[in-house]
């Protein structure tokens, strides 16, 4: 894995954004050649804080993405398991996930794969843990009874199939989960630990998130930042180069 440690939340966000930008440019997407970006799913559609609104306001309205290229799990589908299965098919049809970007819960979960989720699970309906319900209560005016108790989620196995995985972890409250994810063993109680067995994982975090890590680990990866920062150096602009595909090699690989 690559562990990227930045000073604070803004810097971590910016580094991650530049990395994703570079990966898209290097991939050279075009008609029929999709850069499939995977993101974890969330709340049901109806709610004003729904994942659709969240994604629209924070992502889609700022970029020029075609609506047909957006696939969000529909929590209101009549047959939820069929919806999940269809989602897995859509991923295959698009050529597989090129890059999956996710966060980590305080209980170490990736997407809604709560502690105890199988490390080879696929997209399915999950019952949410109390920790997750509490964490999401802020979107429902702090009223616990309003928070949905089930969610559709991509599985750990689904994410493991992605060609690259990026996990964003910021804040002291995530520090223990990060420790469990990278310094302890692979364990289904801390599902993010599954990515120790993925060939291409990047963990991007801020100082606070490293509070539970060994000093040795932190120093080691901070020492690599000079090389890691080459990954986010600006490449050419895709618009300027027209439809020419990128031929540049990746400057550094795991």
């Amino acid at each position: 894995m690559k562990l990227i440690i930045l000073d604070n939340y803004s810097q971590a966000s910016e580094w991650a954004a530049k990395y994703i930008r570079n990966r898209i440019v290097q991939f050279g997407p075009g008609p029929g050649r999709f850069f499939t970006l995977g993101l974890p799913t969330g709340l049901p559609r109806d709610h004003p804080e729904s994942y659709h609104s969240f994604m629209w306001n924070n992502f889609f309205k700022h970029i020029d993405i075609s609506p047909e290229n957006v696939h969000i799990l529909d929590g209101n589908a009549p047959d939820l398991q069929a919806e999940c299965d269809a989602f897995e098919e859509k991923i295959k049809a698009a050529g597989g996930i090129e890059l999956f970007v996710g966060g980590i819960g305080p209980d170490g979960h990736i997407a809604f794969n709560e502690p105890g989720s199988s490390l080879v699970s696929r997209t399915r309906v999950k019952t949410l843990a109390m920790d997750t319900i509490l964490a999401n209560a802020r979107f429902f005016d702090g009223d616990l009874s309003k928070v949905p108790t089930m969610a559709l989620t991509v599985g750990v196995g689904t994410v493991m199939d992605a060609r690259e995985v990026m996990i964003l972890i910021t804040g002291a409250h995530k520090a223990f989960a990060l420790y469990k994810a990278i310094e302890d063993g692979v364990n289904h109680m801390w599902t993010v630990s599954a990515f120790q067995q993925h060939p291409n994982t990047v963990f991007v975090c801020d100082e606070d998130a490293t509070l539970e890590l060994k000093v040795k680990t932190v120093k080691y990866f901070k020492g690599l930042m000079l090389v890691h920062n080459k990954l986010v150096e600006p490449l050419y602009s895709m618009k300027e180069m027209g439809t020419e595909r990128s031929q540049s090699k990746k400057p550094y690989s795991d």
């Binding site: 659709h52 609104s53 629209w56 306001n57 889609f60 020029d64 047909e68 957006v70």
Partner: protein, 409 residues
């Protein structure tokens, strides 16, 4: 980019790189318009899988809802209280010219006039949508003749009337037709005004208090019967007195029925009201302030003599008086000047100043679901303004109907 809009094939325009007035704030958001209404881009994206057909870069301009003028007596030589042969073309001229002031909807106002004038003029005023031809007409504002003699201002005394004999029937007989009337200004201290106010309110006509010597309790009673507006606060009413604030006291009255709000018109041209008085009113009741021009025929014309109904008035700079007197009569202010002056005099935010000319008049008339805001599904009547609040372009139903002729835009 391919798109299969499932609801409509009409072109979608996306105004980008702008600051829009929404939810009482200037937000950095794009404005989407389709078929003359403000469109919800999120629904378009997820439900219809649609996208914009045209994208316009607005170069960081401010986009605000179009101004609504609920008190304008004429302009550019046209007097709405004069029953001329070419009345219709007169109203068309004014509605077209005020687009450059940012007004997208207005209420042509008639001052106190003989009954014959109302019978001739009112049938020629029709509620209609705005467009390239001019601002939309929401309905007439009848200021008088049921007003107080002591506070007639520039209104002709011989035309004043009462309705103590037949109450509402008297009013109906005087005006003739109420179909296209949106607002009636009257003096609530007149006998049987309560019945009249109730009947007008029942018919959806907004009742405004003005040109009156009513005390506070008479004014409060009128509000309880349905009155919701005050015509040009401070002007043509008893001055504020600390033991009987009169109509002005409605701004902070505790006897307003629950869930209702009293609105008040202010002519913020710097002449009709001292800026200090404007500030007092604004601070006492900021959500009720409605900017009006009370403009008369001389607005937009050179200084000199013009008519206002049955009177002759004289313009001297921004002042207009009844010829030969010092009685103020209407104004030559334009709506955008009023907005700028209001903002400077009170030091309020740009959002507040803009809302006083758009959202508040829409709320007064109960039309804020389609006018006065940039909310989704509202009529796409909006303005592009620079940071100093000068109108650069006016749009009605999503179409550009006026643009400032300056290079560099």
């Amino acid at each position: 980019m391919p798109s299969n809009k499932s609801v409509s094939d009409a072109p979608i325009v996306q105004f980008t790189n702008c600051r829009i007035l929404r939810d009482h704030q200037l937000q950095r958001e794009d404005l989407w318009v389709r078929e003359g209404k403000i469109l919800n881009p999120e629904k378009l994206f997820f439900d219809e899988k649609g996208s914009a057909d045209v994208q316009l870069d607005c170069k960081d301009i401010i986009i605000a809802p179009g101004f609504i003028d609920v008190q304008i007596n004429g302009g550019f030589g046209v007097d709405f209280s004069l029953a001329t042969d070419d009345f219709k073309s007169g109203i068309d001229l004014v509605s077209q010219k005020i687009l450059s002031h940012g007004v997208t909807s207005f209420c042509p106002t008639l001052v106190t006039s003989p009954s014959s004038v109302y019978h001739q003029v009112l049938p020629q005023i029709s509620v209609r949508n705005g467009g390239a031809h001019g601002a939309g007409i929401l309905g007439a504002h009848l200021e008088g003749p049921f007003i107080s003699k002591e506070k007639k201002g520039a209104h002709p005394e011989h035309c004043l009337r009462t309705f103590e004999a037949g109450a509402f029937q008297d009013l109906l007989a005087t005006y003739g037709c109420l179909d296209c009337v949106q607002i009636v200004t009257l003096a609530p201290e007149m006998r049987r005004s309560s019945e009249v106010i109730q009947e007008l309110t029942k018919r959806g006509i907004c009742v405004s208090l003005g040109h009156s010597v009513a005390n506070l309790s008479q004014a409060e009673e009128a509000v309880q019967h349905g009155a919701t507006f005050i015509t040009h606060l401070f002007n043509a009413m008893l001055p504020f007195h600390h033991r009987d604030p009169g109509i002005v006291g409605l701004l902070t009255s505790d006897r307003i029925p629950a869930g209702r709000r009293v609105f008040y018109g202010m002519i913020s041209d710097g002449i009709h009201t001292n800026p200090a008085a404007l500030r007092i009113a604004h601070r006492a009741h900021p959500k009720g302030l409605v900017l009006v021009t009370d403009a008369m025929a001389g607005m937009g014309l050179a200084p000199g003599r013009h008519t206002l109904g049955q009177q002759v008035v004289e313009i001297d700079g921004l002042n207009t008086y009844i010829a030969g007197t010092k009685t103020l009569s209407g104004s030559v202010a334009t709506m955008d000047t009023c907005v700028r002056h209001f903002q400077e005099a009170t030091g309020c935010s740009v959002e507040t100043a803009l809302e006083a000319a758009s959202l508040h008049p829409a709320q007064l008339l109960g039309i804020e679901h389609k006018k006065g805001t940039l909310n989704y599904d509202s009529d796409a009547d909006f303005l592009m303004l620079n940071d100093s609040l000068y109108v650069q372009a006016t749009y009605i139903a999503g179409e550009e109907v006026w643009r400032q002729d300056v290079s560099g835009m």
